[in-house]
């Protein structure tokens, strides 16, 4: 079968060797750092660092490419929306105004505005690869175990893990159904008009939903028959003890987080301002 996107694959890399809990803690620290700051230097460093981490993980870009591009579209929409609703956000933040040219009516492109949008964009870029990497490089069961470790109910952890695990299955199912529908003459290829394609894709959605419901029914039966949910606690076959490398990874990200907070506090502001 074709490799499915966002599927967890066993790869021998330092990233994969970290325990699920480590990866989760690292992801949280990373996200906090990225959310907290608009400092171009920190964000820029994080983008480069995330690319390096991605390389180390040996995960192929192809595996996340679809979702990656999908998020890029949202990034674009986000940027445009900010500009439409608040064209002078950058001016407000950086307290100077350098007009480049007027687009239409009250919309004028400013240096500050452009710089602000650049920051938003690299913010996205600093976080997307890491978040996606987390999804494809964390064994879903270990992920469930680690959620449980940081105090979340194992039932919630397990539902998340099972959802993650079914991503490839649902993709296979989707492909099969789409083949069957195409064979009946429902055109989903690029030859058909976009409106038709959207209309036609409902003919895949219906069977997909029904077969997914059937799947959920079977698996929940199987789980109950094997005593899932019996006790308040459970143990984990695939749970792993923390090793040195786990502490090292967490420490590294903690340092990054603290530096970022320190810089923010020192500057008294989340933004790096090149205009003053």
């Amino acid at each position: 079968m074709n490799e499915a996107m966002l599927e967890y694959l066993e790869i021998d890399s330092p990233i994969h060797k970290l325990t699920g809990a480590t990866k989760l803690i690292c992801l949280i620290l990373w996200s906090l750092t990225s959310m907290l700051t608009y400092n171009t230097y920190i964000l820029g460093f994080m983008v480069i660092f995330s690319i390096i981490i991605f390389k180390i993980s040996k995960v192929k870009f192809k595996q996340i490419s679809f979702v990656f591009y999908f998020i890029l579209v949202f990034l674009l929409i986000n940027n445009i929306a900010i500009f439409i609703f608040s064209p002078y956000q950058g001016v407000e933040i950086y307290k100077t105004r350098t007009d480049l040219f007027q687009i239409i009516g009250p919309y004028t492109l400013t240096m500050e505005g452009l710089f602000y949008h650049l920051n938003i964009t690299i913010k996205y870029f600093s976080i997307i690869p890491i978040a996606l990497l987390f999804m494809v490089a964390t064994n879903p069961s270990e992920f469930a175990a680690s959620l449980n470790k940081i105090g979340i109910s194992y039932k919630i952890g397990y539902s998340v893990a099972i959802a993650l695990r079914y991503i490839p299955d649902i993709q296979n199912e989707y492909r099969d159904i789409s083949f069957a529908q195409q064979a009946r003459g429902i055109d989903l290829s690029k030859k058909a008009k976009l409106v038709d394609r959207i209309k036609n894709s409902t003919s895949i959605l219906m069977p997909l939903i029904f077969s997914s419901l059937a799947r959920i029914e079977t698996v929940s039966c199987a789980m109950e028959l094997r005593a899932f949910g019996n006790n308040k606690k459970r143990t984990w076959y695939s749970a792993r003890e923390f090793e040195k490398r786990d502490y090292r990874a967490i420490l590294m990200l903690l340092v990054l987080f603290i530096i970022s907070v320190a810089i923010t506090l020192k500057n008294g502001n989340r933004f790096y301002n090149p205009f003053i």
Binding site: E3, R184, G185, S189, P207, R215, T218, L225, R226, K233
Partner: protein, 568 residues
């Protein structure tokens, strides 16, 4: 006195959503260490019985219970599904659906995890259980990468770690190829004999289960137990025939030959069968029947030439496969799970492109045709009707193929009605699809392909999971279509299906075509049977045991005679 482990006393059950009870006054006692088979047609209530034993009833599927059901002496109503899971281990029908863990080891451990067994001990128990079912070398692989038989071993190990003293199997053979099914039955037998666990099997493939000794067979019909007897007794009675359960083929053959089946014959197993008394009648029957010559049209409708194909960078899924299909033929493509059967259909329909080789339709290369263009000539019916049905009403569903082709409304109506009549669905034309049975849904999917008027129809496992009655219904309908001139290709691992209905079988193994011959020849060729994970038909064994001159010929004559009798 043996210990009672399962005891139904006047047990009745009515699902909350249904008007009538599914089980009526069930009285059944199963003793420790017994091996019991529960058979019955679809909807007879046999799965309800198994759900009552493992606790899905009443804890998951609610309804009204009267009477009593005791497991290990305890009333199930007063327990919980978790307590029951410590006594009853259930292996569900669909091996893919029941995998929870990401690796084999983790899946086997699932019950232990929920019981809070400490990790070190858990790993030990898992290893032990895996060893019993012979899967201990694959603990780290993903269950989805295993073969059908291995998957089942994993599910089995998963219930064995729980130390339950009752093992319940829900249609264990449904998705296995014949040889793997045979091994599965052997394994269940071994566990039953060595561990003194009580085994309850729910299955309608009677002949395959009979391969190893059974203590009793319980026949269920309309929510009642109508027979509870040892295999010999049951096979001598006429009850199987009456309830629409397929009797073993060798029994049918003996009946055709005019032998009386009684317990002296020991009919429970082809190997235990006391054949001496029947030898003469079998011989006479053999001499009196003749093989029928089926005429094949010369015109070739579909041809595959040296097809090679692989998914991504793996090894070839299909390696240099060539065959021809004649117009009006009914051909089956057989082989073990993963032999490349489904891939062939996907290539023919254009879902994937072969990387070398040609597919010719009436002599024309169709490499450049789109999926939609091919669909006008070659229809494909998938195994699971739920994957194909996308509308809520029967009429809409069948009309869909014409609508997207822009056929005028008037014409659509006429053609849909005509197709529905052919498929025996005309009376239900205004019904919602959700009101149909699985077999009827299957018909709807065939109708929705048929309406496009393809000359060839490919059916993927058309009868999977069907009891004998529905199986016959579906197959007779398909033969009917075939007689109207539609060429039919069936992909299957059901040996009965291939033997009874198709004239020719193409055998695939590991992506290579092994044989292309009559079904009777395929199922009597030991080398091919072994290589393709098939199972030799019991008819052949019967003929050998009876010292018939030409066992192969006997099988062929039986099939021809059988078809004549059943008029198909």
């Amino acid at each position: 006195m043996k210990k009672k482990v399962i005891e139904f006393i006047d047990f009745s059950f009515k699902y909350r959503a249904q008007a009538n009870p599914t089980l009526n006054n069930i009285n059944l006692t199963i003793y420790e260490g017994e091996k019991i088979l529960i058979v019955g047609p679809s909807g007879s209530g046999k799965s309800t019985i198994s759900n009552a034993i493992n606790g899905l009833i009443p804890f998951r599927y609610e309804g009204d219970i009267s009477g009593s059901l005791k497991i290990n002496g305890k009333e199930t109503k007063d327990l919980s599904i978790f307590e029951l899971s410590n006594m009853v281990g259930t292996v569900l029908q669909d091996p893919d659906g029941q995998f929870i863990g990401l690796t084999v080891g983790e899946d086997i451990a699932f019950k232990l995890e929920n019981d809070c067994v400490e990790q070190g001990k858990m790993k030990e128990i898992v290893k032990e259980a895996a060893k019993v079912v012979d899967i201990d070398t694959r603990l780290d692989s993903s269950p989805h990468k295993l073969s059908g038989g291995q998957k089942q071993r994993v599910s089995l190990a998963g219930v064995m770690v729980g130390d339950a003293n009752i093992l319940l199997f829900d249609e264990p053979l449904a998705s296995l190829d014949p040889a793997t099914g045979k091994t599965a039955i052997e394994l269940i037998d071994k566990i039953n004999k060595t561990s003194n666990k009580t085994v309850v099997i729910v299955e309608h493939r009677l002949e395959d289960v009979l391969y190893c000794d059974l203590d009793r067979i319980v026949v269920v019909e309309d929510g009642r137990i109508i027979q509870d007897a040892n295999p010999n007794e049951l096979l001598c009675s006429n009850i199987l025939h009456e309830t629409g359960i397929r009797e073993p083929l060798y029994i049918t053959a003996l009946k055709y030959a005019g032998c009386k089946i009684n317990s002296e014959l020991k009919p429970e197993n082809i190997y235990s069968l006391n054949i001496d008394k029947c030898k003469n009648s079998l011989n006479e029957w053999f001499e009196s029947t003749k093989e029928e010559k089926t005429e094949i049209e010369e015109e070739i409708i579909l041809e595959l030439k040296n097809i090679k194909f692989k998914y991504n960078n793996k090894k070839n899924t299909l390696d240099d496969v060539s065959f021809k299909i004649h117009k009006g033929e009914l051909v089956s493509i057989v082989g073990k799970n993963g032999a490349g059967k489904s891939t062939i259909s996907k290539l023919i329909c254009g879902f994937y492109q072969p990387y070398s080789g040609e597919i010719l339709f009436k002599g024309r290369n169709i490499a450049k045709d789109t999926i939609k263009e091919r669909a006008e000539k070659i229809g494909m019916v998938m195994q699971n009707p739920n994957q194909m049905i996308s509308k809520t009403m029967i009429f809409e569903e069948v009309a869909l193929g014409l609508k997207v082709r822009g056929v005028p409304e008037e014409q659509i109506k006429d053609r849909v009605f005509e197709t529905l009549k052919i498929c025996g669905l005309y009376e239900m034309r205004n019904w919602p699809i959700s009101a149909l049975s699985y077999g009827q849904k299957k018909r709807v999917t065939i109708a929705s392909i048929l309406i496009i008027n393809p000359e060839v129809i490919i059916l993927d496992e058309p009868t999977a999971g069907q009891d004998f009655r529905h199986y016959t219904e579906i197959m007779e309908f398909i033969c009917e279509l075939n007689k109207k001139g539609v060429t039919i290709i069936m992909i299957t691992h059901d040996m009965h299906l291939m033997l009874e209905y198709t004239n020719r079988a193409i055998v695939l193994s590991e992506g290579i075509k092994l044989m292309d011959d009559s079904a009777a020849n395929v199922l009597t060729d030991e080398k091919i049977i072994k290589a393709a994970n098939l199972k030799e038909t019991s008819l052949y064994q019967l003929a050998i045991n009876a010292n018939l001159k030409n066992p192969r010929e006997f099988v062929q004559r039986f099939i021809d005679y059988d078809r004549r009798i059943r008029k198909i």
